[in-house]
Amino acid sequence: MLSIKNLHASIEGTPILRGINLEIKAGEVHAIMGPNGSGKSTLASVLAGREEYEVTDGEVIFNGKDLLEYSPEDRAREGVFLAFQYPVEIPGVSSTNFLRTAVNQVREYRGLDPLDAVKFLTLMKEKMKLVEIDQKLLSRSLNEGFSGGEKKRNEIFQMAMLEPKLSILDETDSGLDIDALKIVSNGVNQLKSKDNATIVVTHYQRLLDYIVPDYVHVLYKGRIVKSGTKELALELEEKGYDWIKEAVDSEATV
């Protein structure tokens, strides 16, 4: 589904990603872990097409298409979804109105008829259950005055509505208490299928107790320096990142 080869990206001339290689197949869950500043969020942003990041080398093939050639909105319409670490507030625009615009633009791109109000609301009701989101929240201005947990839940709700092929969860666990974490994870797990894939970007192992990854990758200084299964995450939880940092840094000095 997703094939990242030798991806280099920089911001304002400073290189952040220095040669990422990653293969993701449909049905898989990959966790990207790593210390602060290792480039985790950058990778998520580059895949979504954030303009500030300049891709200097490498390629990203998504379902046979050169993803980097697509605008951010077309990437979304092709099925790439980013659950933001810090979802933005849009005053005066209700979640419902926002999502209806989004869903219908995506449908139009895919050659489908727009959903009318009734069908849209039916779909919304169905998906609301997944993340136990309150209808009242959806009639409020998008993310405005939402608690941290509500914002993240709303991200997963949007994911459910847009039915992406590749979901990238950027630090979705940050700012969540244990109950909210369970609800959000439960939503993600229910959306999982053999046809879609998920990248979970996280700092802590905690989230991976609930969203169990098939693979875990450790990102450090813009490269994937170690890959393994979910046991790797547990090892990291226990030992921290220092042993990996040391191994990589000593290699570099040799």
Binding site: G49, F98, A102
Partner: protein, 481 residues
């Protein structure tokens, strides 16, 4: 240049939609301004002597007045002697009803999306169509007259209801109120007149559609709305003008009178030609709008969506004379390219327990300048007066300006006045967030801007609100048709 600036840059390429004009045979006054011209206009309109004298008195006062300079707008001096003060489509005989109106004139309105044919019109809105200096048609007159409601052109009202005109003309905006109001009083040509008798609730929206067609012609319309005790009406005003290289002057006066327990809602969607991308051409819109809540428990509510004009100078105001009367002002003013707007309101609290509410949303893009200027005045005997003001500014890009000039003048210790102001920018983050959900950038900007202006747009009658939303998007976007 950052991404959002570039996006906004693209938006400025949008052409004004109503920029076309039509050639029709016109009945015009000679160019220039003097007592002879005023006599010419008055004679043309077959006005009574008292009205001619009223005009001349206004003109003589105007000659002694100076153009106001306090507004935060800059434009070259207007050559008032180089303008034409009357231009009307030639009609061989006066049409008695819509069927007799020149189809060519009806076509002009059709092109603007306004069908004057009553059968084809949506129920619920009566329209007075004003082209340059005259009203060409008014719909639903008969339906309304059964309820005793008068809705007609100002000229007609002078003939048919002289007593009402004599009583109320200049009662809210005195002829000597300000430079442009005085000029309007001297040379005004047409406009609408509404009269709602005591206890009548007007069953449909009343609306006037102003269109400037002729070149080098000023439009000086005059609107007078009188709502007697316990009556209600909602009035809408829309405006467009052709795209011309020269600047055109529009100096209107609107007066509203509300008796006790009466309510008047006045909504404007102003879309005059704003000038081109380089600031060439466009309408100078110098308007005086004022309402008086004369009776107790009366209410006047102004809602305006200002998108057009090169220069706007406009402060729809309320004089809250009756006890427990309420004044409201809801405004969205959008400026783009080189547009300048200095707009706001005045709330004058005279009666006891009077309340006013001001919600102003400015949106500036391009190299435009957008100012809010508002005055809240609480007089000595206005015990327990309340005011709440909210002034928000939204900036798009980094070459525009937003300014707020609140004036608060309190002469009664029981007054409670609140003023809130915010300034924000459409962020790259917001646009990217929308993009990431599959929403195109232009639609994202429209969504964000409409969300920002929602509180005001919600005040507009349903049909108008949809129009206004589209207009906001159009004004700010480059390629949405």
């Amino acid at each position: 240049m950052s991404k959002d600036n570039q996006i906004l840059e693209d938006f400025t390429s949008k052409e004004y939609e109503h920029g076309w004009s039509v050639n029709y045979e016109a009945d015009e006054a000679p160019i220039g301004l003097n007592e002879g011209i005023i006599q010419w206009i008055s004679a043309k309109k077959e006005e009574p002597q008292w009205l001619l004298e009223w005009r001349l008195k206004a003109f003589r006062t105007w000659l002694t007045m100076e153009e106001p300079k306090w507004a935060n707008v800059h434009y070259p001096k207007i050559d008032l002697q180089g303008l034409r003060y009357y231009s009307a489509p030639k009609q061989t005989k006066k049409p008695k009803n819509l069927d007799e109106v020149d189809p060519e004139l009806l076509d002009i309105y059709k092109r603007l999306g306004i069908n004057l044919n009553e059968q084809k019109r949506l129920q619920g809105i009566a329209v007075d169509a004003v082209l340059d200096s005259v009203s060409v048609a008014t719909t639903f007159k008969d339906t309304l007259s059964k309820l005793g409601i008068v809705f007609c052109s100002f000229s007609e009202a002078v003939k048919e209801h002289p007593d009402l005109i004599k009583k109320y003309l200049g009662s809210v905006v005195p002829m000597t109120d300000n430079y442009y109001a005085a000029l309007n009083s001297a040379v005004f040509s047409d406009g609408s007149f509404c009269y709602i008798p005591k206890g009548v609730r007007c069953p449909m929206e009343l609306s006037t559609y102003f269109r400037i067609n002729a070149a080098n012609t000023g439009q000086f319309e005059r609107t007078l709305i009188v709502a007697e005790d316990e009556s209600y009406c909602s009035y809408l005003e829309g405006c467009t003008a052709p795209q011309r290289d020269e600047n055109q002057l529009h100096a209107a006066v609107v007066e509203i009178y509300a008796g006790s327990h009466a309510e008047v809602k006045y909504s404007t969607v102003q879309n005059w030609f704003p000038g081109d991308k380089n600031g060439k051409g466009g309408i100078y819109n110098f308007v005086t709008k004022r309402g008086i809540c004369a009776g107790d428990h009366s209410k006047i509510s102004w809602t305006q969506v200002e998108t057009g004009s090169a220069v706007t100078w406009k402060y729809p105001s309320c004089i809250l004379k009756g006890d427990y009367s309420i004044g409201e002002f809801y405004s969205v003013a959008v400026t783009n390219n080189y547009q300048q707007a200095d707009t706001g309101t005045k709330m004058i609290h005279i009666g006891k327990n009077t309340k006013s509410r001001i919600v102003s949303k400015g949106i500036s893009a391009g190299k435009s300048q957008n100012s809010y200027r508002g005055q809240v005045q609480v007089m000595k005997r206005a015990t327990n007066a309340r005011n709440f003001s909210q002034c928000d500014s939204l900036l798009m890009g980094d070459r525009c300006g937003a300014h707020t000039f609140p004036y608060i003048d309190i002469n009664n210790p029981t007054a409670k006045v609140e003023h809130e102001a915010t300034t924000s920018k459409i962020g790259e983050d917001q646009i990217f967030y929308c993009n990431q959900r599959g929403i195109a950038t232009e639609d994202a900007v429209a969504l964000i801007v409409n969300g920002y202006a929602k509180e005001v747009l919600n005040q507009l009658p349903m049909e108008f609100a949809v129009e206004a939303q589209k207009l906001l998007a159009l004004t700010l976007e480059g390629s949405v048709g």
